[in-house]
Amino acid sequence: MQRIGVFVCHCGTNIAATVDVARVVEAAAKEPGVVHAEDYQYMCSEAGQLKIREAIKEKNLTGIVVCSCSPRMHENTFRQAAERAGINPYMVEIANIREHCSWIHKDIEEATEKAVILARAAIAKVTLNAPLQSGTSRVVKRALVIGGGIAGIQTALDIADAGYEVDIVEKTPSIGGRMSQLDKTFPTLDCSACILTPKMVEAAAHEKITIYTYSEVEKVSGFVGDFQVDIRKKARSVDMSKCTGCGVCQEKCPSKKTPNEFNRGLNTRSAIYTPFAQAIPNVPVIDRENCIKFKTGKCGVCSKVCQAGAIDYEQKDEIVTQNYGAIVVATGFDTIKLDKFDEYSYSTSPDVITSLELERIMNAAGPTKGHLERMSDHKPPKSMVFIQCVGSRCADKRGKSYCSKICCMYTAKHAMLIRDKYPGVEVTVFYIDVRTPGKNFDEFYRRAVEEYGVNYIKGQVGKVAEKGDKLLVQGVDLIDNKRILMETDMVVLATAIEPNPDVRKIATMLTASIDTNNFLTESHAKLRPVESPTAGIFLSGVCQGPKDIPETVAQAGAAAVKVVGLLAKDHLVTNPCVAKSDELLCNGCSSCEKVCPYGAISYEEREVNDHGIRETRRVANVNSALCQGCGACTVACPSGAMDLQGFSNRQILAEVDAICK
């Protein structure tokens, strides 16, 4: 028979104001097995914990129940207290009488009665608890970073600088990400390439960093400390060890009609290409879908002109399998498709562009060599209109419900740069709200207005219509309450950003959760913002939520520290609340194996001794390092052979019985 101690917390007045704590103690003391019951102001305090430890020792307690706040808050605190007093930490149960009771009920009678029942359920459960031993698992001292943008690069650099191996997997032919497409960065107006390129070079040169470009994560198995990952290195058709990066192949390639992704389709590229001049690695890839050689079998120009003999049409995709202790997701973002916003004529007029397209137009390496011009007739504009919140803050299905956060600032940046470089261009910004929280951000925006004469009009635009070779912008000025009908030369849409669509696939592989907008969910919105709820998975950059470059870099560093903290350990303590099969009851039917999301259950032929009968049976075997303790198998098992430690059938039934009594 267990000797149970019950500890009821007042939580100041949080609990005590609505629950008659003394009555809970009194009722608990009468429960079978309870040999000690007391209450205290703050059980989680050092003094409170001391009370628990003393009672355990004095009364020889074998299990304890703490009636307090949510176990999500202090279960660990009390488990540690129990352990310090010499009993197994899993002999602790929490009755949640704060979040689930005192905070939501007003009537003291009702709340007290409920608190007593919750305490009884916890007592009934703890009576059936058994000491559980945590196992250990190894930590592979290597990290994987998925995505080679500024978030991924920074995370990799910080992990590598701490002395651990890091691999970056990047889907496109070069690392660099969105930031490499930007012209200048707010609020300081540094050239984006000037600050990014050195980081790219540093990452490439770092002895601890391996970069897999033109590669994708194909399969992930394992768990925190020991993930096994298959990386598909897509065939580049160019031998990286031979290519000198001279670029002749790209010049001579006869297939030049493919939309240039890096320039957002504003111009075209050759079928063999590097996305941009500073690409790392500076080795081109052949886009086989658009290559004449691959489509027709004829051509082979690139191979002929390559002096290094690096072109390899026979190259195959390659699978690299590697083990990692931690994985960082840094898959970044893209702008949303604008096909649902045709009132702004994006799909009909080439002079209506997105802000990211404008970045490319403004960039000296872009399709117009940095000259501001209209894409329809290549004439310089005399006036430009910027429209904010296109697709952001939309409650309807056309757009995104959230604020994309970066648009207000980059629009101010664009407006300022244009007014600075082309003072003759009239710039008007239609806004709903200007949101500029951040150091020197509002000052930046005000400069655009006050020093550069950018015309900010409050009011969302209703329609952009082509009229002759102009664009007619139809809106209202909400401050003046009057109609605006403005003819302009170019319209720039501050398009909402969304997580890279690939993230769904990756999240599924990693069993990391994502929200309704496809952003990865953090473990705690405030206190664990760079960790996924799935152990060993960390988040860096916009894949977690909209953010600008400084925030991304900060988060990348934070994720790196969390990874380093994990990799610094030699072993991890595993959760002992895992499934366990009773070999004497197991039919060997495989039902449990089919529902296990972790592949933690295998079957083996084992000799069992069933009350004297020795025979070889096919029985389930749970790998406790892989099992995460969901319990799906326990219900699939018809015979009840499979049970979950810490949440056993008998324990849950005991809670049910106590509540229904």
Binding site: E99, T534, V595, G631, C660
Partner: protein
């Protein structure tokens, strides 16, 4: 001879909540002070897929008037797929209970995320109201339906 009950009907309601979403949602309802009746008692399970139909039947057999199972939204399961299995199991179980002629309003599944404190509270309020309208559970207590 039955003594006439003067006491107001106080239903017994068991809510199974998965640890990652719904239990956290219930915590959020608590920290947001979103009230729901004290008749609801929550049992924490790691995942909605841990809930064996036997637990639910046991609750009814022991006098529960309503049982509700809350889990992560489909697609958001902490264990990736647990709630999909739970969804099938509960669909079939509820349909069977209905087939046996017991009020199917006494069972419910609701997907509540950790962020949906409001939904948790409204769901519980609705569910308690529903159980009030159905009254005390008589039929579900003994599914063998044995006549006296």
């Amino acid at each position: 001879m039955q003594v006439e009950k003067t006491q107001e009907f106080r239903p017994k309601i068991v809510a199974f909540c998965c640890n990652w979403c719904s239990y956290a949602g219930a915590d959020l309802a608590g920290s947001s002070r979103l009230a729901y009746p004290a008749d609801v008692k929550i049992i924490r399970v790691p995942c909605s897929c841990r809930v064996n139909p036997m637990f639910i039947l046991r609750a009814f057999q022991r006098g529960a008037d309503g049982v509700i199972l809350c889990g992560c939204h489909p697609g958001d399961c902490h264990y990736t797929t647990g709630n999909y299995y739970a969804r099938r199991r509960m669909t079939l179980l509820f349909s069977m209970l209905d087939y046996l002629g017991v009020e199917n309003g006494r069972t419910r599944v609701e997907w509540v995320s950790a962020a949906e404190g409001v939904k948790f509270s409204t769901t519980m309020n609705e569910f308690v109201a529903k159980i009030h309208s159905l009254g005390e559970n008589v039929r579900l207590g003994d599914l063998r339906c044995k006549k006296d």
